[in-house]
């Protein structure tokens, strides 16, 4: 944790409410996000219990598995979930723009103009916390290889048609969520923690209700006290007043509310089945009643979190968007378009595990995006830049002097002016280190030629970005009295080195990957 973030946390402890860590919003927010609150069943890893989702705050839709151990019911649930989610995801695929690119013909090597489709916008899922992202990833993994009735070999338990499609989308979105700065799938706790510091630990911040308690706590109650209430207050029946945001449920809810409701529903179903020859209205009514009870019980624990996520969105939307958001969102749009195209082309689902080359490529992409995100945030937000200034990796100051000097080593003299900058920052201003001018219209580099910590001045020699003439282009240099920010880190992240094709995987990494893998046929107990 940086010094500034620690300070903000200490201030939050003292003030009793969340303190800002950013002056702008650093993640893209869609106009029409899909909010999704999943719950998992206790006892079995990745077993879905329910999901509350929707794009309308006033109209959440609940899907649930009445008996989490029953595979048929699980797949009915997944089919319903898919019927809700997949159309939303696909709805962004129709409107496209044509991007012109120069492509090299692989055979002739000639450069040709080519057009590629880029979807004009992309969907966005907002979930309560990072646990929800992991749960969706597990759902994706367990469903994307399922065979459907349309498969040539459907197996004994074909899944509804859209289930493997849902799995592929969930896999794509949860993979993309691993890329720093991406916004297709975002956890609300992470979004809030990026923009505000609370007076509690990171672990406590994982409870969405407790984290939100630090935002505008009612008069007379501090964030800490309200957060404690959110985490612990129970009603007369021993149920939490503010249930955890999932995907795990409160054990007291499981034991005293959920399990009895499931049992009642099972019993009603069994009774109905026993009357198979002449089902009575009474038995049907009982099934309907118990199903509604289950529905009501789950809705009750999901709705507070649903409201919390939307409240979080309200808070975030009040922040002005950062300048580089559109640039990074374009990356998300490409990611979305790419997946859309792979589905359309009938490609097989994402493999169970990445091969060596794919894993290395993904790691390189994530590292590149992390570097880009750090630079973007620093450029977009004085508070983010302040962290770099505090750590000596950047400095801000007023130009006190511009000394025109020239490099006369070449045929024609080139401008290499000196800037004297008065600063109260204490950069690691070692001589000969390169510095980069932040928030300037074009990239400009300089080199540190001297510093005087006692005077608070740093002298740099500008190396480029001044045009081709002997005298610098007007406006390319700061005027005396102008305030500038220089960073010691590069502002354009480096490219990643090329990697071999998967078929050229070397002997050190086991050689080219073997044939395709397909999940073994389920041997688990089905119903």
């Amino acid at each position: 944790m940086s010094l500034l973030a620690t300070l903000a946390r200490l201030e939050a402890v003292r003030s009793g409410h969340a303190e800002p860590l950013a002056t702008v919003r650093h993640r893209h927010l869609s106009d029409r996000p899909m909010v999704l609150v999943p719950l998992a069943a206790a006892g079995e890893a990745g077993a879905p219990l329910a999901v509350l989702l929707g794009t309308e705050r006033a109209a959440p839709r609940l899907h649930l598995v009445p008996q989490p151990l029953n595979r048929s019911q699980r797949f009915e649930f997944l089919a319903g979930f898919a019927a809700e989610l997949v159309p939303y995801l696909e709805s962004y695929g129709a409107e496209v723009e044509q991007i012109e690119r120069t492509e090299k013909d692989p055979e002739t090597g000639e450069k040709t103009q080519a057009f590629r489709e880029l979807c004009a916008d992309a969907p966005q899922l907002i979930v309560p916390n990072s646990g929800s992202v992991q749960h969706l990833a597990l759902l994706g993994r367990s469903t994307r290889f399922r065979r459907t009735a349309e498969d040539p070999d459907p197996g004994p338990y074909p899944a509804p048609t859209r289930v493997p499609l849902l799995g592929r989308w969930l896999t794509h979105l949860t993979e993309r969520a691993q890329v720093p700065g991406s916004s297709l799938l975002l956890p609300m706790t992470g979004l809030l923690a990026r923009h505000w510091a609370t007076g509690q630990s990171h672990l406590e911040d994982q409870h969405l209700g407790a984290q939100l308690a630090w935002h505008q706590p009612p008069f007379g109650i501090g964030g800490a006290e309200l957060a404690t209430r959110m985490e612990t207050e129970r009603d007369a029946a021993g149920q939490l007043l503010h249930p955890p945001a999932g995907p795990a449920t409160d054990p007291a809810f499981d034991a005293r509310v959920l399990a009895p409701a499931i049992t009642r529903h099972d019993t009603a179903l069994a009774a109905l089945a026993a009357l198979a020859t002449a089902p009575g209205d009474q038995a049907r009514l009982r099934v309907k009643q118990t199903a509604e009870e289950l529905h009501a019980a789950l809705l009750q624990v999901l709705l507070p979190t649903w409201q919390d996520v939307w409240r979080g969105l309200d808070l975030l939307r009040a922040l002005p968007p950062a300048a580089h958001l559109a640039e990074r969102w374009e990356g998300d749009r490409w990611s979305y378009t790419g997946h859309r195209d792979r589905l359309a082309a009938g490609e097989p689902p994402q493999p169970k595990q990445d091969d060596a080359v794919t894993a290395a490529r993904k790691l390189a992409q994530r590292e590149r995006e992390q570097a880009r995100l750090d630079v973007h945030e620093a450029l977009d937000d004085p508070l983010a830049m302040a962290e770099h200034r505090l750590s000596g990796e950047a400095f801000a100051g007023v130009v006190t002097e511009v000394v025109p000097e020239y490099d006369t080593s070449g045929r024609s003299p080139k401008p290499r002016p000196l800037l004297v900058i008065r600063t109260t920052d204490r950069p690691h201003a070692d001589q000969g280190r390169k510095v980069y001018r932040a928030n300037h219209s074009s990239a400009q580099e300089a080199v540190i030629v001297g510093s005087d910590p006692a005077e608070g001045t740093v002298t740099v020699r500008v190396l480029n970005g001044m045009g081709r003439k002997k005298e610098p282009e007007p406006g390319s240099l700061p005027d005396p009295g102008e305030r500038i920010v220089l960073t010691l880190f590069e502002l354009t992240p480096r490219q990643s080195a090329p990697l071999p094709e998967p078929d050229d995987t070397p002997w050190t990494h086991g050689g080219p990957p073997g044939g395709s893998d397909r999940s073994p046929t389920a041997t688990e107990e089905w119903e």
Binding site: L3, Q178, P180, Q353, D354, D355, A356, V357, A359, A360, K362, L363, A364, R366, E367, Q370, S391, G392, H428, A497, P498, L499, P500, D504, T505, P506, W507, T508, H509, G510
Partner: protein
């Protein structure tokens, strides 16, 4: 311990076998490695792996292997990890092998060290095409990844292979047929700033060490070991061997009387001088400040570190070793820290005391982080303990390799500056990293190694009030 496993300590401290000549043991190990590299048996694995404890003659081995390969009519490429490692290696090769032609491949925007221009047999170029005629071409892994050439090298040497990431090896392995991988498994593992849990347990996890991946895919490779540390003094080898290399013990190449530090002035009665005398006599000293939670750049600990270095220089120490007696000058001293801002703070404090810290302007004290001190050697080191003054012990601060690097840079003595209370801090923070399926547990873990080192340091404690 969280795992509930008991790991028996190594059979016996290796220094207790004076009958065996360390030189002979080292020579036979080197001979076996060279034979496997230069004259591989038919059907032998394509890789040779050498595990080397700190200061066991790794660089000497690389130079010998390169010379013998070239003498056998081969051309080879060498992969190192940082530019300074490459420059060091080029200088060594050029000096020890004046008959070799050496190509130094460098990036367009980073020129090789100026000293290299003194060697007539070194050619530097940013394009590999200009260097294909050279006997040996050396560059960093990062630069090699960009090399595209039809010509492949029959042989490669990968230096500091345990610090190379698996994905970097993936990118360069297509350039050679066979390779000698040399490295120190006890030093810092490669790292990344993004999450990689997704690949944990895969044999080719791109964020793991190149050697781990290589051995997982080539199980027939049996790593060789260098059994003798020529750098570490008799006082340090048993502790380092037991604490960091419990399954691959090594010994010091020198005996108890071979390395001595003497002072020309009497101690002034201060705690600093007492710590220096303790270190001169026993090879270790712990300069302990009162317990306190501090910011990372703890001003008192930084001041104590700088003052210790200052006294080391003003007391006129002389280092006596098998290589002769030399006065302890600034360039033979290093200060090691965990974080860059700590190094910057120590540098600033030293400058105030008039101690030179800029190597480009004459002999100067090296002040740097563990990551950058890897592979370096000094007579005396002063270490700011990674856990000093901290309220918690994170995985970063507990990493075995970090402490191992900091505690193994010295030929004579190591003085550790720390706040009291680290053993209690360790006890309050057992390792909590999740156990991943398929990932080999690294023993000893940082928790255990830290305790082992602290237990030894406690016997050489000097309190500073």
């Amino acid at each position: 311990m969280t795992t509930g496993m008991t790991i028996s300590p190594p059979s016996s401290p290796t220094n207790e076998r004076p009958d065996e000549n360390p030189g002979a043991a080292a020579d036979s190990a080197v001979a076996a490695i060279l034979a496997a590299t230069v004259h591989p048996a038919p059907g032998a694995p394509r890789g040779v792996v050498v595990d080397s404890p700190p200061g066991a003659g790794k660089s000497t081995l690389v130079v010998r292997a390169a010379r013998e390969l070239v003498a056998g009519g081969e051309k080879l490429m060498i992969v190192a990890q940082t530019n300074s490692q490459v420059d060091d290696l080029v200088a060594r090769l050029a000096e020890k092998g004046p008959d070799l032609t050496i190509g130094r491949l460098h990036a367009a925007d980073s020129k090789p060290a100026a000293e290299l221009s003194r060697y007539a047999n070194v050619t530097a170029a940013p394009k590999v095409g200009d260097l294909l005629e050279q006997d040996v071409v050396i560059s960093t892994a990062a630069k090699w990844q960009w090399v595209k050439t039809e010509a492949r090298w029959r042989h490669a040497i990968v230096d500091e292979a345990y610090q190379m990431r698996s994905d970097a090896l993936l990118a360069v392995a297509g350039l050679f047929e066979r390779a000698l991988f040399v490295g120190d498994p006890g030093q810092l593992d490669p790292f990344t700033v993004v999450g990689t849990d997704q690949w944990a347990g895969l044999s080719y996890d791109p964020s793991s060490s190149a050697v781990v991946t290589l051995l997982a895919h080539n199980p027939e490779i049996r790593p060789h070991r260098l059994p003798v540390s020529w750098r570490l003094p008799y006082s340090a080898a048993p502790l380092i061997s037991a604490a960091f290399y419990p399954y691959t013990p090594f010994r010091s190449g020198t005996g108890p009387e071979d390395r001595r530090l003497t002072t020309s002035t009497a101690p002034d009665g201060s705690a600093l001088d007492a710590a220096i005398d303790e270190a001169a006599e026993h090879g270790w000293a712990l300069l302990e400040l009162p317990a306190r939670h501090t910011v990372r750049t703890d001003p008192q600990a930084v001041a104590a570190t700088a003052a210790t270095v200052h006294r080391l220089l003003t007391r006129g120490l002389t280092a006596h070793s098998e290589q002769g007696s030399t006065p302890l000058t600034a360039d033979r001293i290093a200060v090691g820290t965990a974080h860059r801002d700590q190094a910057a703070a120590v540098r600033a404090a030293l400058l105030k005391l008039g101690v030179p810290v800029d190597g480009s302007a004459g002999p100067a004290v090296t002040v740097d982080t563990a990551n950058r001190l890897q592979g370096r050697e000094y007579d005396v080191t002063v270490v700011l303990h990674p856990l000093s003054g901290r309220p918690d012990a994170t995985a970063f601060h507990l990493e075995t390799g970090r402490l191992c690097v900091l505690a193994t840079r010295h030929r004579h003595a190591c003085i550790v500056v720390a706040r009291a209370g680290i053993p209690e801090l360790l006890d309050e923070h057992p390792a909590t990293e999740p156990v991943q399926l398929g990932v080999t547990m690294k023993f000893p873990d940082g928790w255990e190694a830290n305790h082992a080192v602290l237990a030894q340091l406690n016997e050489h404690r000097v309190q500073l009030h």
